[in-house]
């Protein structure tokens, strides 16, 4: 093989790497390796001067391969690929050695860490020798979008896309749009009417010719890949069923949440005491304008209990985020409808973190809501009140504010049920190939930096299907997802990574071992040729099929056996 000209760049990352690894020593050792013509250490390789140093060497020393020993490639691989490209080198002639996350950050013995950094760098040098030039590819972008779920997130996303003159399929399972917001009376903290928020937007959806609304419909199947999906949508219930095939380029999943079933918590007697109701039952009363007990009388004592099914080891460990402010909203609405009633609010911690929420909390106290604080794990107990009481039920609370165990009267108890992922969220996840976390919520690509994308290109998530959130955040996410899609549509075509798996048909024996394994459904079997092949645009280069192929007929570009064995040899 022809001699390579390799440059090795060891980053100090300020003191992040340098405090544990002798970067200069790593560079000196790398300098001795075959093919290495320059090895330097520097403060910040990712900085402009750092990148320029690499580019200068590429030009002056005629480098044809580059190793950067620095942070995780997830952090800066693209940065350095860009630097190579800028100097006229194929970007895939880069290899990174992770001497930060996998070395300096996790070790305490500087000598051992330095020798490990040197070994990782040596492995990268051995590997980069076998790197092949790869070219990026492009596929066309279909401008239509499938929005699954017609709640506030779905409606918002659809309007945003249609407003930019792009076609949208808005699919809703129920016979009306609006989702969970349509079940709500006023909204916290400004007490605007949910109906007003929705009605105007639903009307705009109806009027917009770019949006095709499919009610009583469910998406059956989504096939294809980013920019080029086909969705099968089934409309209608038993008997009259119609099927729509939609060519789409993107998917936004806005399937929302389902309320926690209060009957699962036995100590509250939901389903047993007729006047213990859930927040959604209470919304129904508010929307009808009549707050009454089952006997039709207005309650004298209203008690609102927080965290039903939330923040509990037994049910859901997470906070459902919207219930605290919704509870305060109930206090306001109850007080305004029944000025003579006593309103008790039983909480664990008052989460009032949103804009305007702390003010709202203060105003709730001003209208004489009586707050009691109970401890996590010591839930209030509801029992029937005897004939000597002027109320129907008594709630025993171990109140943390007064430090006393008290019985408070109640004619109507409102249980603030938390949000949970929908029962059939798993089905949706499998259909569009996204993941769920331990609580069933869909997982975003990055919790901070990429909150609406998923690991499947072209599939986005917005609203409460990702995690409990309020209308404000759902709308923000829906618009963010729409903006991401409009960005892709504006470019007209989609860049597909040059790293993907390919089947060597000369070696494939058509055993079909790989067919079901691909998590991205990127492998097709050709019945006539009796060979499998990878749809490269769908492939994420995870390597599953490569490892499984009994014939060694599948090669992952940029992760060839030769490259990996060379790398292993380097660390040994």
């Amino acid at each position: 093989m022809e001699e390579r000209r390799i440059g090795v760049y060891v980053c100090n990352c300020g003191t992040n790497i340098a405090k544990m690894v002798d970067c200069e020593a790593v560079a000196r050792e790398a300098e001795q390796l075959p093919g290495v013509v320059a090895a330097r250490s520097y403060k910040y390789m990712c900085s402009n001067p750092g990148q320029e140093m690499i580019q200068q060497d590429i030009r002056d020393l005629k480098l044809d391969r580059v190793v950067v020993a620095a942070c995780s490639p997830r952090m800066h691989e693209l940065t350095f690929r860009g630097a190579l490209q800028g100097a006229g080198l194929n970007p895939y002639f880069l290899e990174m050695a992770n001497i930060r996350e996998q070395c300096s950050w996790v070790h305490e013995d500087a000598r051992a860490a330095t020798s490990k950094a040197a070994a990782l760098t040596r492995a990268a040098v051995k590997r980069v020798v076998f790197h092949e030039p790869l070219e990026k590819r492009y596929v066309d972008m279909c401008p239509a979008t499938l929005v699954i779920g017609g709640g506030v997130a779905g409606i918002t996303a659809a309007l945003e896309l249609a407003g930019a003159d792009q076609p949208v399929y808005l699919v809703e399972r129920e016979d009306h749009l609006g989702g969970n917001v349509a079940r709500v009376d006023l909204t916290a903290p400004y007490l605007d009417s949910a109906r007003d928020i929705l009605a105007e937007r639903i009307a705009r959806v109806r009027e917009n010719s770019n949006i095709r609304v499919l009610l009583e419909s469910e998406v059956q199947q989504v096939t294809g890949f980013v920019g080029n999906f086909t969705a099968t949508i089934r409309t209608g219930r038993d008997g009259e069923v119609a099927t729509t095939e939609a060519r789409i380029g993107s998917v936004i999943v806005c399937t929302g949440y389902q309320p926690f079933d209060a009957a699962r918590v036995q100590s509250y007697g939901y389903g047993w005491f007729p006047n213990v109701v859930t927040s959604f039952d209470f919304e129904r009363m508010l929307r009808s304008g009549r707050i009454v007990t089952d006997k039709g009388a207005p309650p004298r004592y209203v008690a609102i209990v927080h965290c039903i099914g939330s923040r509990s080891q037994e049910f859901h460990p997470y906070c459902s985020r919207v219930c605290c402010m919704t509870a305060l909203k109930y206090a306001h609405e109850a007080k305004s409808a029944l000025p003579e009633a006593y309103v008790y609010d039983l909480y664990i911690d008052m989460h009032a973190f949103g804009k305007g929420c702390e003010d709202f909390y203060r105003r709730s106290a001003e209208i004489k809501t009586i707050f009691l604080m109970y401890r996590k794990g010591s839930a209030p107990e509801i029992r029937q009140a005897g004939p000597k009481y002027d109320c129907e039920m008594l709630i025993r609370v171990n109140d943390q504010l007064s430090g006393e165990e008290v019985d408070i009267p109640a004619d109507l108890v409102v249980l603030m049920v938390g949000m949970e992922s929908r029962e059939d969220a798993g089905k949706v996840a499998r259909m569009v190939n996204i993941s769920q976390d331990k609580d069933g919520w869909f997982i975003e690509s990055h919790p901070k930096l990429d909150p609406v994308a998923t690991t499947t290109d072209g599939v986005f998530i917005a609203g409460a299907c990702q995690a409990p959130k309020d209308i404000t955040d759902s709308v923000a996410q829906a618009r963010a997802a729409a903006a991401r899609i409009l960005g892709k549509i504006a470019r007209g075509r989609i860049e597909v990574d040059a790293v993907f798996a390919e089947v060597d048909e000369e070696r494939c024996s058509g055993c079909r071992m790989c067919n079901e394994l691909c998590p991205y459904v990127a492998i097709e079997y050709d019945e006539t040729k009796k060979r499998s092949h990878v749809i490269s645009a769908l492939c994420k280069a995870c390597g599953t099929c490569v490892a499984s192929c009994p014939s060694g007929a599948i090669k992952a570009r940029h992760f060839t056996d030769q490259q990996i064995f060379a790398q292993i040899e380097g660390v040994l």
Binding site: R512, N515, K530
Partner: protein, 319 residues
């Protein structure tokens, strides 16, 4: 050809004798061989002593068909001797090629093997404590037997091999093919695996292959199989997908699963690892306990996956 007959040796290392029987199974052809060639050494059928071989000139033999693995010092000594005396050295059969069934012993130490074979075995005389020794002094003088190695080697681990004929045993037609090629001078490039395909057994197997999802594994006698359908899909542990073809799909065509005797595909380093990954890939469950239950239906995964290839596998640090 007329002036000088072909000079041939056949030898067995650690082997069962099946490869030699395969040579005899060429029937009348063996008589043609005998007519066209001098068989200089063939312990199973022809009288010949090591001293006779030692007395030969180097490269005096045209071809040696070496079957069996290298288990002891005698196997290695004769392999090296025949290599020196032969123009062409053929690793004949799976044991010489990959280590074969004897290679499964590499799961155990020499001490464990001795213990099992000579000290703790139901077929031994009760109380036996006799272990074979390399050297034994007795009235007649000092007796010497070959040294039992700590592990089994492939032929290619001890001598340079020119050609490989895979199979446990190779089909008699393969024997004819190799000898005919030597006689007619139509040998493939050195290093070739003779008579093997570049693709897996599945490529030649006529059974219908669909998507593989297995909820229970069976040994062949535990299930009435569908003779049209891929055996692996029926839960029968068939190694066809991880094995080079060229055998004529004899086992699956006889309703028996491929055992893997032709060895790994040309691009593959470790056939057993591929087999394990194939089996684990098709388990039809995502529930850890159920997966354990399904995999418990595979009684001896080492025996299945590395039936023939343990000495040459990555597990043995062979590359």
């Amino acid at each position: 050809m007329a002036e000088r007959k072909l000079q041939v040796a056949l030898y067995w290392g650690a082997a069962c004798g099946g490869c030699d029987v395969a040579v005899l199974d060429t029937n009348e052809f063996i008589l043609d061989v005998a007519a066209a060639a001098d068989i200089r050494l063939w312990p199973i059928a022809v009288d010949g002593k090591y001293q006779d071989v030692e007395a030969m000139d180097d490269a005096e033999l045209d071809v040696t068909l070496f079957n069996g693995a290298v288990r002891n010092s005698e196997n290695e000594h004769v392999a090296k001797l025949l290599r020196r005396k032969s123009k062409i050295m053929v690793a004949f059969g799976t044991c010489a090629h990959l280590g074969g069934i004897p290679g499964l012993a590499n799961q155990f130490s020499r001490e464990e093997i001795m213990e099992r074979a000579y000290l703790n075995n139901p077929s031994l005389e009760v109380g036996n404590r006799t272990l074979p020794q390399t050297q034994t002094d007795c009235a007649a003088g000092q007796l010497e037997i070959p040294r039992f190695y700590a592990r089994v080697y492939r032929l290619a681990d001890v001598v340079e091999v020119d050609y490989t004929v895979p199979g446990c045993p190779p089909h008699p037609s393969q024997v004819k093919a190799v000898l005919t090629a030597v006689v007619t001078g139509t040998l493939p490039p050195r290093g070739a695996v003779v008579g093997a395909s570049e693709r897996a057994v599945c490529d030649d197997c006529p059974r219908k292959k669909e998507e593989k999802r297995v909820a229970r594994f069976y040994r062949p006698w535990q299930i009435i199989q569908d003779p049209e359908r891929c055996l692996l899909e029926q839960g029968i542990l068939c190694a066809g997908s991880v094995t080079r073809s060229g055998c004529g799909v004899r086992c699956p065509n006889s309703n028996m699963p491929c055992r893997g005797c032709y060895g790994p595909l040309p691009n593959v380093r470790d056939q057993g690892a591929k087999f394990i990954s194939a089996v684990s890939s098709i388990v039809d469950s995502k529930d850890p306990e159920e997966i354990d239950r399904i995999l418990a239906g595979v009684p001896d995964i080492m025996g299945y996956a590395y039936r023939f290839g343990l000495p040459g596998s990555l597990l043995q640090r062979s590359l």
